[in-house]
Symmetry: C2
Subunit: 323 residues, 2 copies
C-alpha cells in the first residue's frame, strides 16, 4: 500500500473538474458555484495546512458554455468575443471565486496564506491534427437552419449532438507548454498558492520567433494539468472529479474499482477501452503522460472526489497511478 501520508512537503497540483464547480443537476447560479467551490477548497486547504506547495487548476466547461451563450444572445447588438477571450474571461471569474474561497478557508483555520490566480496561456501546435477534425462541442444548441447559417457566416463546424440540436464543434489540441510556468514556480517557492491554467488555459500558437496569438480551441484541462505538473516538477497530481475512483468495466454490472495501477497496467486498460471517453479516459491518459514524463520516480496521480482526498492520500480511497 502506498504510504503517501508522510509529512515531507510535496509540490502537489490539484485539478478541480468543471462539474465539481457546476454540478450536472444545477443551472449554475453564482450561489451554487460558490457553495461547490468552498466545499472543494476546504479539502484543498487541509493540504496547505500539511505544508505542501499547492497549485490548483480547474475545468470551465459549463461556465465557458454560458459565456458563449451570452455572446451569441447579444451578438446582434455588440461584437461577440472569440472563444479564446471567453476562455480568458472564465479564468478571471472562476479564479476569483477559487482564490477567495481558499482565503476564507484560511481565515477559518487561522493559517493565512496568499492565494492568487494567474491568467495562463497554453501553447498548442497549429498543425495539431485536432484542428482538422474538431470534435469538442461547445456553447448553445441550434436548429438545423441556424446551424447551416452559422457554417456559412462564421465558418463554424456544426455537428448534431445526441438528438438535442446542433452545436459548434471546436478543436481540442494537445498542450505543448505553459507560458507562465516560471512565474508559477517563483510564486510557489514564495509560499503562494497558485490557481492557473483554468479551463485548460487560453490556447495560443507560438511563431518560430516566439510571437503568441490566441486561437479558437478548447484544451482538455487534464492534459494542461499534466503538462504544467511536468514543467513544475510536481510530485503529485490530484485530479478531483464527481466520481470516487476509476473502474474496470465502468458502467457494466461487473465494474470493479481500481485502487492502484502502474502506467503499464493503465496502458493495458486503455487499450481494452475500460474508461468513458470525455470523462475518465482523458484523466487516465493525462495521468499516464505525467507519470511517464516525470523525472521523479515517485511521481504519481490520484483520481478521486474532493471529500476523499485524505483517504486517497493514504491509499484507502480513489485511484492512484504510479510508475
Amino acid at each position: 500500500m502506498a504510504k503517501a501520508g508522510t509529512k515531507k512537503p510535496k509540490t502537489i497540483i490539484v485539478s478541480l473538474g468543471g462539474n465539481v464547480i457546476i454540478r450536472r443537476e444545477e443551472s449554475g447560479t453564482i450561489d451554487e458555484q460558490f457553495r461547490n467551490t468552498e466545499l472543494a477548497c476546504r479539502y484543498i486547504a487541509s493540504l496547505v495546512d500539511q505544508g505542501h506547495r499547492i497549485i490548483i487548476t480547474h475545468g470551465n466547461g459549463p461556465v465557458v458554455g454560458n459565456i458563449l451563450i451570452r455572446n451569441e444572445a447579444a451578438g446582434g447588438e455588440i461584437p461577440p468575443m472569440p472563444l479564446y477571450i471567453c476562455d480568458a474571461d472564465s479564468e478571471g471569474g472562476l479564479g476569483f471565486m477559487i482564490q477567495q474561497a481558499l482565503h476564507n478557508e484560511f481565515v477559518k483555520t487561522h493559517n493565512i496564506k496568499d492565494a492568487v490566480t494567474i491568467v495562463t496561456q497554453v501553447v498548442v501546435d497549429a498543425k495539431d491534427p485536432a484542428f482538422k477534425d474538431p470534435t469538442k462541442p461547445i456553447g448553445p444548441f441550434y436548429t438545423k437552419e441556424q446551424s447551416e447559417r452559422l457554417t456559412l457566416e462564421k465558418n463554424w463546424v456544426m455537428l448534431e449532438d445526441s438528438g438535442r440540436g446542433w452545436r459548434r464543434n471546436v478543436a481540442s489540441p494537445r498542450p505543448v507548454k505553459i507560458i507562465e510556468a516560471d512565474i508559477i514556480k517563483t510564486l510557489i517557492k514564495n509560499n503562494v498558492i497558485v490557481i492557473a491554467a483554468g479551463g485548460g488555459g487560453v490556447p495560443v500558437t507560438e511563431d518560430p520567433d516566439g510571437t503568441l496569438a490566441g486561437i479558437d480551441a478548447v484544451i482538455d484541462k487534464d492534459f494542461s494539468t499534466a503538462t504544467l505538473a511536468t514543467q513544475l516538477g510536481a510530485e503529485l497530481f490530484i485530479n478531483l472529479t464527481q466520481i470516487e475512483c476509476a473502474y474496470l468495466d465502468f458502467g457494466k454490472g461487473r465494474q470493479k474499482a481500481i485502487n492502484k495501477m502502474t502506467v503499464k497496467e493503465a496502458h493495458g486498460y486503455l487499450a481494452e477501452d475500460h474508461f468513458k471517453a470525455g470523462s475518465m479516459r482523458p484523466k487516465i491518459e493525462a495521468a499516464v503522460e505525467f507519470v511517464e514524463g516525470s523525472k521523479n520516480k515517485n511521481a504519481s496521480v490520484i483520481i478521486t472526489t474532493p471529500e476523499l482526498i485524505e483517504e486517497a492520500m493514504e491509499g484507502r480511497a480513489g485511484t492512484r497511478v504510479v510508475k
Copy 2:
C-alpha cells in the same frame, strides 16, 4: 524642470484608461482592442527596456459594459452573473490581451521578460457613503417601463442618462486596500511585469475576522491604482489616457495646459473646478492622494497619452503632479 529620465530603476505603476483599449469611436471588436493594446504596450515596453520595475493597471468600462449587456441578453435562458463576477471576467480577458501584447513586444525587441495578470481583489468599506448614493451608470440602456420592472425585480437603482434611456447605477466606493499587494511585490522583485487591479479590481468587503465577499460596485481604477502604488511604495504613477495633459479651464476658449503642479496647487485647481468630473477630475484626485500619501519625497504622477510617455518623463509633455 523635472529630470525624470535618469537611469536609476524605479518602481513605476502605469495605468491604461479603458478608453485607450476601446476608443470612443469604436464598437470594441477584438481586433480594435488588440490594436490599441499593442500600441500602448509598445511604449510601456520601452520603460521595461530602461530597467524599471513595471506594474500595469487598466480600466474596463466599455468591456464590462458589454459583458453586462450579454448577461442581460441571455438572462431568460441562463443565470446572469453578479457585477463583481463580470469584473473578474474582464480582468481575465483584458489581462490576457495585455500580457500577450507585452510578450510580443518583448519578442520584437529581443528582450524577453515575464509578464502576467493577477486577478485582484480590492477591499471597500460596506459603510462607504457611495453605497447610499449609487451614481456610476453601467451596462445597457433600458426604456422607462423596463427600468421600473428592474427596480422592482432586482432592486436596481435606475437613473435616466442624458436623454438616451435609463441605466442601472451602482456605487463607486473608495478602495481601502489591495488584497494581493504582497504577491505583486514578490513578482516585481523577481523581474516579472505584473498586470493587476484591472477595472479597478474586483470589489470585496472584509469582515472583522478577514472573510472576503464580492459586492456589486465599480471601483474607479484611478483610485485603485493610487492605493496599489502606495502599498507597493512606487516612485512614479503614469496615468495613460486619450488626452495629452490636464488643462486649466478645460473645454473653455482660454484653456491652458498644465505641465507641472504641486499637490497644493492641485488642491486649489480642484476647488476651482477646473477638471471634468468622471474624466480628468478623478485622475487629479488620485494623483494628489498618491503623492500626499507616499513616504517617498520624490513620488510623482504623470498624466498623458501612451505616445507621449517618453517626452513626459523628460518634462516636455503631459502633466506632472509632485509634492
